[in-house]
Symmetry: D2
Subunit: 371 residues, 4 copies
């Protein structure tokens, strides 16, 4: 990292911050919190300096407090970090905070930290639909970060410089990654989706085993609403500081199946104009976007991997593709009712949650919002 | 069973055959064959007199030859039946034959038996779409049996009286059971369906465990085509001895999940006219049809069970409903793209296969086609 | 039911109570409680008159309060029973109470009811090892009920006639059913067992799905201790009102696997004397005991089913054997370290819990303890 | 890689071959074959030059012929390798051949290649128990490679220099890794083991899903015999060119559970002398052996990972430990019948198969047997 005058500037391909950026994680012991801790190990830009735990775990070492369930061991760097309370103050010696807090408490806590000057990258649903909060997917709406000026002004956070950026629901993220290149190329009118979601999406302890072994669970509270609404904001515009929803329609049915990681989605779309199967395939397979242009550390080389095999995608085989940051699409074919249909699979706690937040933080760093 | 002059006649509610009817099973050791053997135990009308096995198993006792996988033990009545070859002859001392033969061999074998005078009730795909073969679901198109006159004439089977009746693919059956009352009440234009199908649908050994544990398998060969085509014949008309397809459109995506029994289907429908949620619910819940009117032994009291709970239907909980002969529908709600959407679950090797054939045989018996 | 002077008397084969006996269930909404409600439907001797729920559910109809997870629907007889509080009083209009209460609260509640004159048949661990409480398996130690005289006297319950009878842990029950005929025939010195236990053994919500899909969970709190201790009491004697432990040794390792119902146990035994494989097989297969002699309604025709197939027992195939009240043993063969080894499987919430309690109540009824 | 006179010599810590060694894989499209292809990607010593396929696949590119099931894609280096026939000749331009051939054909094919001068590292059972073939686990019996002189002489392979080295059955490997440090420290008399084996151990298609979803499969053909016999050879001596079995006794029961990768084993041991729990724990945790001393590329830093948590080991969490080359042991405690008991878990297709063969090849390279 250097200040060499020839180094790329913010917004230019290859930009790197000139010094390590300190980051913290709120809700670090939870399922998504563990993914943050895992993905931030050895991150080239970010250095973890604070981990927040629940009241019960404050003061304990992370390795003791987290019921670590991702692999054999907590990453070495995090083992002995002492968990701190979820309140702004000297314990939180960092600029960026990644959050994954449960339920309704997330909203006010995030606001409190943003008001204190922290840059919040949130997985929680609370602020996603706020009129001055970007619901960001770097491949899709990187320019939505501009609303942060409105946000800071609205909320009196300008002086201290804090803000809140959110990422969408895990099912939404993978859906919009497949939809965006189609919208760009052909326009988009209707999207019918049935999801077969994984167990990790419900956290831990989450889904009782008796609900899912030899079973399908046909309902996930609030999920269908999110999948029907969030894409319209993400794939819509930002005009004069106001979000303008895109005008396609989504109909979603969300179910849970006995898969540990990666959601699968059966999708049918009606496009804005006629397009051949080859055109649709090319639009998906060739798509590159801002994170790829900028070369963000966590960006997949290709956001959408299109597979031709009849038996793909499969969550077990395809979830790790491109560092678990891509969406794999397969079985692309004509739909007798809408225009085309396909199946997609994507990792829900990496690209669908912790990795999404980290990529957002990388984008905003590369856009010059951090320092 | 009596010939009391006051007994109901064929076609009348409560009709019973005046004597036991002898039946056989072709393919009795297979997955669906085992269901036939199980369901025919103690059947009030039918008595099993012949079981056919593969070349390898002919001459063995059924209990030795069948790798029985439905419960602890082969039903006592069938244990010591000696498996016979799949060729018409004195070994097949019966009127009705239920068939569940693999692949392409099924078609010619069934024809050979029908030509020899046997009444064939087939689970195989081979003859389903033939112009003179009924694709029968007793609740839906009991009148399609009339085509058998054409069939017998066409094929020169009139004298000996044999015929072939088929039942649909397992995914189709449960779908049409939910669609028919809607079509009757409101008309039907479009049907979008994503299935989450069970392992037993692929027979034994069927799906390798490494393809399904912690996974979804996104493709089932030939299945989507069947689900898109069969409903149009079943729910269409029979005019002057010719089938006239119904004119709605089905778009199907079929996947496999780690469930032992019962397919789950996420369905969206466009109706022929406006209808309120209450009307749609009532059409489904109140539906009764010919097997219920006739009181056929295997008929469910209600072919469609509508559940109001948010977390239903579930294949584990709902597959046994009404003797595993009903389709359970839940999560009925408006669809933002078509009109209504819902999830259904139904037992695929009983209502979706062996039970379907037996109900067809009961219907034809009650209609007077057997004797 | 009659008082015909020729009817069998208590203790005689074929005895039946002369009138229906009223029973209640404490903890009726839980996993084992639901099994009680299911198994008591249409019971020939017992009639359910009271169901107890948690504080939160008292006053609600059973069908509303129970998150019923055994099949599509709550049995019709129980749907509209109003849940009552777990305190003795007029709401509990019954003689017998089956209990399945969680954790430490079970003990005092059971005592309170027994003190009030109720006959308690308990699934809870609290009183199992009490010196004056029978830990009863009707095939094994029916004579242990005699300790109830001591119990009633010790605890001052003689006048009102209440008592507590317990049944063992689910893993213990199936183990002792396989051990007892061996002990009787050959003596028994050592038992090494590794269990592969089902999910239902942990109740609902119980085991988180992320702990068991694509996994084995290697620890079940307190289970190994129970399996090592309980058999010694059950298979020991009762001398002059005092239990004398049997003197064999059990070493247990208990694990959890992704099976819904039925525990599997890998067992090696050292016998008290030389015995041929044929002798051991005959001892297991031919065993009949007191419940079979008495013809108790819930008793299996054979308590142990011995299978010769190499690939048996399997929990999926064998759990329903004999009304889910038998233990299936297979793979019987020599052990190079102890004498013989085998694998057993048995239903853990029927024979291992609710069915065990009901069989105990039937035994005590037939022994004349009720009335 | 250099011939610097200061470089470690064969047998010395840090030895590296002075040039890349060409290797091939026989049976490269199978389940274990795919692991070979995966693990050899980027191997510091070995370069893949030949992949052998079945008759059906000879002449096809590896990526087309292998039904790759380990991750999204075949490693890039192997995609375009053309599969060759399993016969010695110019297609096999390599010194070492790793084999994973099915069934009885493996033996003669391996001999044919060895006779032609190839160094064979075999996963197959055929030659494991031959009197002149080492059954090698580098941590345990590295000195057994000396028998190769006998082998070459016996079989007339001396001139061309070919030989056969085998590795044990996957269940055996993890068992002996846990037993060896105990044998070394305390002596070993008896070992009782019940395994809960994974699906990948049966290859692909392998275990039918209907045999394992909601089930345990209680039998694995030939497995128990291997687990009872192989350890005696591996942990025995080699005296004057003859193997002398160790004299402890193993009793094994092998079952299959719904786990994708990693076998779990419940083990009880009787030691040769008294030892405290602390001594036993230390013997396991502190164990280092020859591959660790030599610094072989694929060697785990520690062959046995001892965990203190009550809920470990778990196959899902622990299978990847130390590059999937370690055995994780937990729940170490006294056994009331033998001396100590514990549970172990280890990756069956890496440490238990392909990784084991590669480590054997590294050992023999470091011992100077290759060139």
């Amino acid at each position: 990292m250097s200040s060499n005058p020839l180094s790329p500037l913010p917004g230019q391909a290859g930009f790197k911050p000139s010094r390590p950026i300190k980051v913290g994680v709120l809700g670090a012991t939870g399922a998504v919190g563990q993914r943050f801790v895992q993905l931030l190990e050895g991150h080239p830009w970010f250095t973890v300096t604070a981990l927040g735990g629940s009241e019960r775990s404050v003061g304990k070492k992370y390795a003791q407090a987290a019921n670590w369930r991702l692999s054999a061991n907590v990453p070495a760097y995090a083992r002995d970090i002492t968990l701190v309370e979820g309140k702004p103050g000297p314990d939180w010696d960092c600029e960026i905070i990644f959050t994954s807090l449960p339920g309704e408490m997330a909203g006010p806590v995030e606001e409190e930290f943003a008001a204190a000057g922290y840059k919040i990258f949130s997985n929680s649903k609370n602020h996603r639909m706020d009129a001055d909060v970007p619901l960001l997917v770097p491949e899709i709406n990187p320019e939505h970060s501009a609303v942060l000026e409105v946000q800071k002004k609205n909320r009196g956070w300008t002086e201290k410089g804090g803000f809140i950026v959110t990422n969408p629901n895990c099912t939404t993220i993978h859906l919009v990654l497949a939809l965006k290149p189609l919208q760009d190329a052909f326009g988009l009118k209707k999207v019918m989706v049935t999801s077969l979601q994984s167990l990790s999406g419900a956290g831990y302890p989450g889904v009782p085993s008796l609900d899912i072994v030899d079973n399908v669970f046909p309902y996930i509270g609030g999920e269908e609403e999110k999948v029907e609404i969030e894409p319209l904001k993400i794939m819509g515009g930002l005009e004069a500081g106001r979000f303008v929803d895109s005008d396609f329609v989504v109909s979603a049915t969300c179910t849970r199946v006995a898969v540990r990681e990666a959601h699968t989605e059966s999708v049918s779309v009606q496009l804005g104009r006629e397009a051949s199967l080859e055109e649709v395939a090319a639009a998906l397979a060739d798509w590159e976007a801002e994170p790829q242009r900028l070369g963000l550390p966590t960006a997949p080389a290709r956001p959408v991997l299109l597979r031709a095999e009849l038996d793909r995608p499969q969550p077990f085989l395809d979830r790790e593709g491109e560092g678990a940051m891509a969406t794999t699409v397969g079985r692309l074919r004509r739909c007798p009712i809408l225009d085309y249909k396909f199946i997609l699979t994507g990792h829900n706690t990496i690209r669908g949650a912790a990795g999404a937040s980290i990529l957002n933080a990388e984008l905003l760093t590369a856009q010059g919002w951090i320092k």
